[in-house]
Amino acid sequence: MNVSKFFGHILSEKICKKELACAGIVRLAIKDGGKNPETININDLQKIFSTTLKTRLENVGIDNANDVAKFMLSELTKNHALFVMSA
C-alpha cells in the first residue's frame, strides 16, 4: 500500500491543503524517521505520526499540529485492516 498517497489524502481533507503536498509531507516525515515510505510497517508509522509528522506540520505553520497528529494516529488505527491486507 502506498501510505504517502493514502494518508496524504486523509491529511489534506483534515487541514484543507493540496493532496499532493500532503502526500509529500507524509513522505518527508517517514524519511525523517529513517524509514522507507514503500516498506514502512504500521508500528513505525505510528511513531512517525506522533514525532516527525507532528514536527513537520508545526514547521509549516499548521494550527493544532498536535491535534492533527492525534487525528492521523486515530485514522491509522481505523485503517489497521488495510495494513493486514497489504502485508
Partner: protein, 261 residues
C-alpha cells in the same frame, strides 16, 4: 495400508502448509502484525489436519482416534480464524471476541467429552467401516459443533471483510489488489462453510472427494491471498495508478505548497 493419489494429495498439502506457514511467519515478522502470525498458525493446523487424514489412509484402524484429532484440530483452526478477525478488523474497536471465545470453549469441551466417550465405548482403533452407534453419535455431535462454530467464525469473518471492503471500495488510493483480497477472503468463508455443511453426509467416496476438493481449493485460495504471486498482483492492479507523484516533488515545492493558504 492404502496409499493412493488422495493420500499423496493430503501429504502434499501438509508439506506445502508447513512451507507456507514459514513464509507467512516471515511476512508477519516484517509487518509486525499479530493477524499475519495467526494466519500462519492456521496454515500449520491445516497441515497437521492433512497429516491426520494421511494416518487413516496408512492405517485404517486408527479411524476413530484420527477422526477425533481431525475434528479437534478443525475446531482449533476456527478459533484461530476468530482471533485473526479480532486482530485484523477490530483493533481499536469493540469486538465480540470474548463471547465467541466462550462459545468455542464450550464446543471444545463438549467435543472432547464426546470423543473420549466414543473412544472408551468403541475403542481407539475402531475402523471406519464399523457401524458403531457410539462412534456415530460422536461423529454427529462433532459435526454439529463444527458447523455451528464454522458458521460463527466464517460468518463473522465474512461480515468484517465486507464492512471493511465497503469502507475502501471507492477509495482510489487503495490498490485494486487489496480490494480483490477482501473479495477472496469472503469467497474463502463461503467455501469453508460449504466444507462444514457437507460433513453431515454419510461416509462415501463422493463426500471424501468433495471434502478433498474443497480443502484443496480453500488451501490454494488462502495461499494466493497471503502469499500472492506478482503476476496476480499486477493483473489485479492493471487499472490502478501505482505512481505517487509526490515522490517526484522536491522538498522545497512540498513545503511551499503546504505554506500556501
Amino acid at each position: 495400508m492404502s496409499v493412493g493419489p488422495a493420500t499423496l494429495l493430503k501429504l502434499g498439502i501438509s508439506i506445502l502448509a508447513v512451507i507456507v506457514t514459514i513464509l507467512v511467519f516471515i511476512r508477519g515478522k516484517k509487518a509486525e502484525l499479530k493477524a499475519i502470525y495467526i494466519i500462519g498458525i492456521c496454515f500449520l493446523i491445516i497441515g497437521l489436519n492433512a497429516l491426520t487424514a494421511v494416518s487413516v489412509d496408512i492405517d485404517p484402524s486408527l479411524f476413530t482416534s484420527s477422526k477425533t484429532l481431525y475434528n479437534l484440530l478443525g475446531l482449533i483452526s476456527l478459533i484461530f480464524y476468530g482471533l485473526f478477525v479480532h486482530y485484523a478488523f477490530y483493533v481499536g474497536r469493540k469486538s465480540p471476541i470474548k463471547i465467541i471465545f466462550l462459545i468455542f470453549m464450550i464446543g471444545l469441551v463438549l467435543m472432547i467429552i464426546f470423543s473420549i466417550s466414543a473412544i472408551v465405548i468403541t475403542g481407539s482403533f475402531a475402523p471406519q467401516n464399523q457401524d458403531l452407534s457410539a462412534s456415530h453419535i460422536n461423529h454427529t455431535f462433532s459435526v454439529v459443533i463444527m458447523l455451528v462454530t464454522n458458521l460463527i467464525t466464517n460468518g463473522w469473518r465474512f461480515k468484517a471483510s465486507l464492512s471493511s471492503y465497503n469502507e475502501i471500495k471507492q477509495n482510489i488510493n487503495v490498490e485494486d489488489w487489496i480490494k480483490l483480497k477482501y473479495k477472496l477472503i469472503m469467497l474463502g468463508c463461503i467455501l469453508l462453510v460449504c466444507l462444514g455443511t457437507i460433513q453431515f453426509l454419510d461416509y462415501s467416496a463422493f463426500k471424501l472427494l468433495t471434502t478433498m476438493l474443497l480443502v484443496f481449493i480453500a488451501f490454494v485460495l488462502e495461499t494466493l491471498i497471503w502469499l500472492p504471486p506478482s503476476w496476480l498482483k499486477n493483473w489485479a492492479n492493471r487499472n490502478y495508478d501505482v505512481k505517487d507523484e509526490s515522490a517526484d516533488m522536491s522538498e522545497e515545492d512540498i513545503l511551499a505548497q503546504m505554506e500556501e493558504d
